[in-house]
């Protein structure tokens, strides 16, 4: 799975370069919607950041890759136990 994902990223990068070569002209800071209007830039940026953070729930035990001022937006949903990385090697013996 990991190799598939890395290969997908490489493919995506190549597609980006090809698309760039096509020279598409965009005047909107976050691109255009399906009907051609400029996308609400803040909404689009936030949706992208949310997707990345939620797709990497265990990238770090310390912090997500965001500015400190945004910590409170993402701190809790991914915290399941006080120390999520403390694994459970065993459980109690049956009586």
């Amino acid at each position: 799975m990991r190799h598939i994902l890395y290969a997908s990223m490489l493919t995506t990068a190549c597609i980006f370069l090809l698309l760039d070569a096509a020279g598409a002209q965009v005047k909107c800071p976050e691109g255009k919607s399906m009907n051609g209007d400029c996308v609400n830039a803040g909404l689009a940026a936030t949706m992208r950041q949310t997707a990345i953070i939620f797709s990497q729930p265990k990238i770090s035990q310390t912090t997500f890759p965001i500015l400190p001022a945004a910590d409170h937006l993402y701190r809790y949903p991914n915290q399941l136990i006080p120390d999520p990385l403390k694994p459970a090697p065993a459980f109690t013996v049956s009586p």
């Binding site: 799975m1 994902l5 890395y6 995506t12 990068a13 980006f16 698309l19 760039d20 096509a22 598409a24 976050e30 691109g31 919607s33 399906m34 009907n35 209007d37 400029c38 996308v39 609400n40 803040g42 909404l43 689009a44 940026a45 936030t46 949706m47 992208r48 950041q49 990345i52 939620f54 797709s55 729930p57 265990k58 990238i59 035990q61 310390t62 912090t63 997500f64 890759p65 500015l67 400190p68 001022a69 945004a70 409170h72 937006l73 809790y76 949903p77 399941l80 136990i81 006080p82 120390d83 403390k86 694994p87 459970a88 090697p89 065993a90 459980f91 109690t92 013996v93 049956s94 009586p95």
Partner: protein, 711 residues
């Protein structure tokens, strides 16, 4: 009405809410918009420079093939693991990490349009330090005689001579480099046989300089004509060398040698001054404003930089310390530690973000680090630590040239610059993260690629889908418990955490004064191993989170934001340990030890010109007792309430100040005794008497001040 609207906009920006980001960014809570950034003509990179750098490094030193290392009397220190005790001996991995800083100088030459090549020398003084406790069995005839030992490793300088090749995007240069490298290392192996053995202590020391090769990549950004800032990753491979040790405590001279394989990774933040630059020379001679050929300028991309930092202080008191069911041993029997608990933490995160925008692409780069001091003052559970935390980095590229879909690719990294394994004197500084900000200061090298896309159905209705994979690296963590009976503290455990695959889907909507979003994820994780043995495979996890904001249509009333989330995990697969007849592979646990988590938070901000302030509150609920077997404890069902005030002040268009004060209450339900009134201790290899922990009530204060500046 106009003032109300302006106030609404101001408060939305000041709130820092994710849903305020679409409003014209009068204040730099998020990345600065292109409109606030001047497009700087692209310079040529041809020139020479010098500068300095700071950074973090971490390495793996692999020790193998020991010879010599004899204690007085001729007992070899390193023997094969005892069949009775199977205690650690060589070979072993020694994790090493710390800070470095130094100077660099070099020259660059731009050619064929945007290509840039050059050479560079750099030297870093370093404090890359590793410490590991070992328990050895040198007395073959009596393997029950254990010898505590410690292995200390330090790299105190690094140097390299490299050639580099890069590609210029105007003010930004992406480059790779490679060349020769050197390191200087010091080692100390200290063994203290027990007095009853009649053998004296030994202190084997060594130092060496070794040569190897390095590869790296980085980003350099030009500003103020002659200055540049850079961030760079370096990988050093110094191969395997035989290192000669000498016992400093032996009068007759005792020697040993061991093969040490050394690989170092480093992240450096640098600042350069171009004392000679072809662009400036050309400009002065031709009176041209910018000496850049047309071929060197494209593609046009504007950049903005944001720096953000906060100082956070936490203080708490409780009727118990952390962990709440810590034990003391009286006459060999465990009993609860009932002393009241208290502690404090100071955490200073800092981050810088670089956002580039062109017609077709948006590039977002972020680097973040931190420093923490934490201390638990609970009698019997005292511990203190001061350390850098792990650093995280991320880069995201979004393609904007398609109508109706904007695909993006992102790569996030966790760099092990913090302390993963705490010493016995520091381990109790891990406190409840519902009362302090962070309870874990470091782990391994994690790599997290993400692929996804925004699908804007309209300008204000967006669907987003993404998939992320997190490959998590191995790290050492202190073993959690002192064995029953008060024996020697256990050594560290090598943890290889499972990788995580996560699918995410979101919908976001904004119209008028209202905005909202809803996000759902499904995560699956592979098996975590401890010391190479399968340990746990967490159950599949489901999470849903959403928020909504409304800007009230009255002057100064401001904005209300409500957010909520819930998560659930299926049963884990765990290593079943019992007295006899246990399965050796992971089995599905008979009851779900994962607690569901629910949280709701409300925040309201009043707006007065450049100032926004208001109350904030939250409620968190863990619905059941979950088992946390590394400490042989239940994680009790828990409620957490918080209430406080927050304020943000826009000093000007480029600087925002913020402050927050909160009071926190937590209450944990009774920690149940088992039906058998016993718990199984992995360390003791048998059951121990259990006891019931009463309701644990804690209170705490949190103070936060911070600033965000855009350049």
């Amino acid at each position: 009405m106009k003032r109300v609207f302006v106030a609404g906009i101001a408060i939305a920006v000041l709130s820092g809410s994710a849903w305020a980001a679409d409003i014209p960014q009068k204040l730099p809570v998020k990345a600065a918009p292109p409109s606030s950034v001047a497009s700087i003509p692209a310079p040529t990179w041809t020139g020479c420079y010098f500068g300095g750098h700071l950074g973090s490094g971490w390495e793996r030193d692999y020790f193998s093939n020991p010879t010599g290392f004899e204690l007085a009397g001729g007992s070899p220190l390193f023997t094969p693991p005892s069949p009775l005790y199977a205690l650690p001996t060589l070979p072993l991995d020694q994790p090493v990490s710390g800070f470095l800083g130094g100077v660099q100088a070099g020259c660059k030459y731009q050619f064929a349009g945007n290509w840039v090549t050059g050479i560079e020398d750099d030297f870093s003084t370093a404090h890359l330090f590793g410490f590991r406790e070992l328990t050895l069995t040198p007395f073959v005839a009596n393997p029950a005689t254990l010898v505590p030992a410690s292995l200390q490793t330090e790299t105190d300088w690094l140097a390299s001579t490299t050639a580099n090749l890069g590609y210029s995007f105007g003010n930004m240069l992406l480059y790779a480099k490679g060349g020769m490298a050197w390191s200087h290392n010091k080692y100390d192996l200290y063994a203290t046989p027990p007095v009853v053995s009649g053998v004296a202590a030994a202190d084997f020391q060594a130092s060496e300089t070794r040569a190897g090769w390095t590869l790296g990549a980085g980003i350099e950004y030009r500003f103020w004509n002659n200055f540049s800032a850079q961030i760079e990753y370096n990988y050093y491979d110094f191969g395997t060398r035989s290192v000669q040790f000498k016992d400093q405590l032996s009068t007759s001279g005792s020697f040993g040698s061991v093969d040490v394989k050394q690989q170092i990774q480093a992240i450096k933040f640098g600042l350069n001054y171009y004392f000679w630059n072809a662009a400036n020379s050309a400009a002065s001679s031709t009176n041209a404003s910018v000496a850049v050929s047309a071929a060197a300028a494209p593609p046009s991309m504007t950049w903005s930089q944001t720096f953000s930092s906060e100082v956070r202080y936490f203080s708490w008191h409780s009727n118990r310390g952390v962990p709440s069911n810590a034990v003391i041993f009286s006459s060999g029997s465990p009993a609860p530690l009932t002393t009241p608990g208290s502690g404090a933490e100071l955490y200073i995160p800092y981050a810088t973000q670089l956002v580039g925008q062109s017609n077709d692409f948006k590039i977002e780069l972020l680097g973040r680090g931190g420093w923490v001091w934490a201390r638990q003052s609970t009698a019997g559970l005292t511990g203190e630590v001061a350390t850098a935390t792990d650093a995280v980095m991320s880069g995201t590229i979004t393609y904007l040239g398609l109508q109706g879909i904007q695909p993006f690719a992102s790569l996030s990294l966790n760099l092990p610059t913090g302390l993963a394994a705490l010493s016995p004197a520091a381990v109790n500084a891990r406190m409840d993260p519902d009362l302090v900000d962070i309870a874990s200061f470091g782990e391994g090298f994690n790599v997290g690629p993400t692929l996804g896309f925004n699908l804007p159905l309209t300008s204000s209705l967006i669907l987003t889908a993404s998939v992320g994979y997190t490959q998590r690296g191995t790290f050492d963590r202190e073993a959690p418990l002192t064995p029953p009976g008060g024996g020697a503290a256990p050594t560290t455990t090598s943890i290889n955490p499972g990788d995580v695959l996560t699918f995410t889907g979101s919908v976001g909507y904004k119209v008028g004064q209202f905005s909202g979003n809803l996000t759902g994820t499904i995560s699956e994780e592979t098996t975590t191993t401890a010391n190479g043995m399968p340990f746990i495979r967490p159950g599949m996890r489901y999470l849903i989170a959403g928020s909504g904001s409304y800007i009230w249509p009255w002057e100064h009333v401001g904005q209300t934001t409500v957010s909520a989330s819930a998560s659930h995990s299926n049963r884990n697969e765990v290593l079943f340990q019992c007295l006899t007849g246990c399965p050796t592979s992971l089995v599905t646990e008979p009851f779900n030890t994962n607690s569901n988590l629910y949280r709701i938070a409300v925040e309201h901000l009043f707006a007065f010109d450049q100032l926004a302030f208001g109350p904030t509150g939250s409620f968190l609920y863990r619905d059941q007792n979950g088992y946390e077997p590394t400490t042989l404890q239940f994680v009790p069902a828990k409620e957490r309430w918080s209430a406080g005030m927050l304020a943000r002040y826009a000093a000007n268009q480029n600087l925002t100040l913020n402050a927050r004060i909160e009071h926190v209450w937590t209450q944990e339900d009774e920690n149940p005794a088992l039906p058998s009134n016993q718990q199984y201790s992995i360390l003791a290899g048998s059951t121990v008497t259990a006891f019931t922990v009463p309701v644990v009530s804690s209170t705490g204060w949190q103070f936060v001040v911070g600033a965000t500046a855009t350049f």
